[in-house]
């Protein structure tokens, strides 16, 4: 293997950045277009008006600030999980354990918020730190097993997901369940552990809108990840380990150490999705609250081409889809499954395109 090759490709990646960016996002745009076209065809085949469907899709997302607030609210956890998947992917690791990591993190936040009584200025950062540490720990275990024993992180993250579901279910039904309640949920966290809703700052948002400050945290994370990945030494090490493991180790980087901290970082990012849920929306831990955010994160990262800003856009799109799925169910009587099926097709289509381009590079 030519040792210079990965360096050259990294350099090239920097010089023709804009062109590459354009090339990167064309398949995604095609995929989105194809997705909506397919949905229209299915709706037409059902004997309903496809144009009415499209106008419902548009109005359900953009007709008012309120509607758009819901879209961004839906997008918030997906930004975190999308970033988590992308961070791993950049260094050649596949974190499908986001679902488990965000549950563990959400519980850690809820526990901290319930049991520690401090002024908001201290408690909010403490709760966020608790989530990040819990998520990072849950992610670092598969990372450590990969680095130390070579155990495949895909399998281990899946296993850790199921262990997290079981463990959290045990904790919330057997120990921390709110007294006198049938619902498997904990009691509420302290007032001071809550992060404010944006409705109290933005006058055009009605008070009922659940969009909260965690969306701003998510945007901050997008910028942070972009800088981390492209403009720091750690980002360089991370990408080098992903692109050329041997080169990295000749260059004095310890790929094993990178594996562990990348998985920890990825887990921490996924854990912030738990913050959005517990501190920003429900103010308590509810058993199995996530509707597959960890898995949707994979689609988000894929559609956003593992670029932090692309992920932001993709997460907003999926936030819109999740909202529209409910609305078309109510307004037009089209079952939500249509959008899940479309989402699955979207994923398969995107990886096929990626596979073809990789195949072309190989030969």
């Amino acid at each position: 293997m030519d040792i210079r090759k990965p360096f050259i490709s990294l350099l090239q990646g920097r010089t023709s950045h804009l062109k590459q960016l354009r090339l990167n996002f064309v398949p995604s745009l095609f995929a989105i277009f194809g997705f909506f076209l397919l949905c229209g065809v299915v709706v037409h085949a059902r004997g309903q008006n496809a144009l009415e469907f499209y106008s419902t899709v548009f109005s359900s997302g953009f007709s008012s600030f309120d509607e758009f607030g819901y879209v961004l609210f839906n997008a918030t956890p997906l930004i975190f999980t999308g970033l988590a998947v992308a961070i791993g992917y950049k260094s050649g690791l596949f974190n499908i354990g986001c679902e488990g990591q965000l549950y563990v993190a959400a519980f850690a936040t809820a526990w901290t918020g319930m049991h520690i009584d401090l002024p908001a200025l201290l408690l909010v950062p403490l709760c966020i730190a608790a989530a990040m540490i819990a998520g990072a720990a849950w992610g670092a275990i598969p990372g450590y097993l990969k680095a130390k024993y070579g155990a495949h992180e895909v399998i281990n993250t899946i296993m850790m997901n199921f262990i997290a579901f079981a463990l959290m279910n045990y904790l919330v039904t057997s120990i921390y369940q709110e007294p006198g309640q049938m619902i498997p949920q904990t009691r509420q966290i302290h007032e001071t552990a809550r992060i404010p809703r944006l409705a109290s700052f933005v006058p055009s948002l009605p008070d009922s809108n659940p969009l909260n400050a965690s969306f701003l945290i998510a945007c901050g994370c997008v910028v942070f990840c972009y800088i981390l990945l492209t403009h720091t030494r750690w980002g360089y090490e991370l990408r080098l380990v992903g692109n050329a493991r041997d080169v990295a180790s000749y260059g004095g980087i310890n790929p094993r150490a990178v594996t562990i901290w990348v998985m920890a970082l990825s887990g921490a990012a996924a854990g912030l999705a738990g913050v959005a849920e517990v501190m920003g929306y429900r103010y308590r831990y509810l058993d199995s609250f996530s509707s597959g955010w960890g898995f949707t994160g994979i689609a988000v990262a894929l559609l956003g081409r593992n670029n932090p800003f692309g992920i932001l856009a993709a997460a907003v799109l999926f936030g819109l889809l999740n909202k529209v799925a409910l609305d078309i169910d109510i307004l037009l009587g089209i079952p939500r499954g249509l959008f899940f099926a479309g989402q699955g097709m979207l994923i398969i289509w995107l990886v096929c395109i990626e596979g073809i381009s990789r195949k072309k590079n190989d030969t």
């Binding site: 596949f94 499908i96 097993l145 024993y149 155990a151 495949h152 895909v154 399998i155 281990n156 899946i158 296993m159 850790m160 199921f162 262990i163 579901f165 079981a166 463990l167 279910n169 045990y170 057997s174 597959g292 898995f295 994979i298 689609a299 894929l302 079952p335 939500r336 499954g337 249509l338 959008f339 899940f340 099926a341 479309g342 989402q343 699955g344 097709m345 979207l346 994923i347 398969i348 990886v351 096929c352 990626e354 596979g355 073809i356 990789r358 195949k359 190989d362």
Partner: protein
């Protein structure tokens, strides 16, 4: 009292066992198969729909298997022909199956179950239950004692071995994946036929559990299916809850065991050498 647990164990282990056998064929041919979950789900769905439409459980079984093989074909085209990432494709297929079945959710009508056979000393179980040990042995013989099995395994062990014999790796990978669709489909049909209806997401992670069994059994049919019986036993224990062990602990036991085996504390589990690699 352990004997009381046998019926539940068998019922829990059978769908897992079929899916695990399917997983073994696919992974031995070098293709990671996370789509087992989706294939089982659509198999169960196909069984209920086919039976409702025709009134015959055999037609339902056929439709269930057909749907699952269709999904397997999609997996094969994406991963083998287009070199798509196998893990992501698998997850995509699972979401797709979940979506399709939710969209076309059959009206909650009861359907008949597959015929039960009464055997002396054993009791009365669906014939699928008896089929599992047979297929387990057949799979073992096929994979390790026949030239075809050798070729299928060669597809998973090395990207060049089959090319050196001027045989097609692609062809054997297709065979492996389609077989896995067939078997996972049977598992799904069994699942639906035992409860007589279909519900949204009724496989509830069984495909992933089967995958854990594949790894736990070191990618071998005999030990893989045995692992399914062990996992089925854990579920049976949880359902009866005899010794007051928290159910969730028993629930997660298979996953913890699999992680331990993967690390190599108790007999290391080794995947096929070219598992997940497409480059030739």
């Amino acid at each position: 009292m352990i004997l009381d647990l046998i019926p539940t164990t068998l019922r829990m282990a059978t769908p897992l066992g079929f899916a695990a056998l399917g997983g073994i064929y696919s992974e031995r041919a070098g293709v990671i198969n996370l789509a087992l979950e989706g294939m089982m789900l659509i198999g169960a769905f196909g069984y209920v729909v086919g039976t409702q439409v025709s009134g015959s459980v055999w037609f339902g079984l056929l439709v269930g298997i057909g749907f699952a093989v269709g999904l397997a074909l999609l997996h094969a085209v994406a991963t083998v022909t287009f070199h798509a990432d196998q893990v992501v494709t698998g997850i995509g297929i699972n979401i797709l199956a979940l979506g399709i079945t939710e969209y076309l959710l059959p009206t909650s009508k009861q359907v008949g179950g597959l015929p039960h056979w009464q055997l002396p000393f054993i009791g009365s179980y669906s014939f699928i239950v008896y089929l599992l040990p047979v297929l387990m042995v057949v799979s073992h013989i096929f994979l390790f004692k026949t030239p075809w099995g050798l070729r299928l395994r060669a597809a998973g062990e090395s990207t060049e071995a089959l090319a050196a014999l001027s045989l097609s790796r692609t062809q054997w990978q297709y065979i492996g994946i389609l077989l896995s669709g067939l078997l996972a489909g049977v598992g799904g049909c069994f699942l639906a036929s035992e409860v007589h209806y279909f519900t949204k997401g009724m496989t509830a992670g069984r495909g992933y559990l089967a995958l854990a069994a594949v790894i736990f059994g070191n990618w071998r049919p005999l030990s893989g299916v045995s692992a399914c019986f062990l996992f089925g036993f854990a579920t049976a224990l949880e359902l009866t809850n005899r010794w007051n062990i928290p159910g969730q602990l028993l629930n997660s036991l298979p996953y913890i065991l699999t992680m331990v085996v993967l690390i190599g504390f108790v007999g290391r589990s080794r995947p096929p050498a070219s598992l997940g690699k497409m480059k030739s």
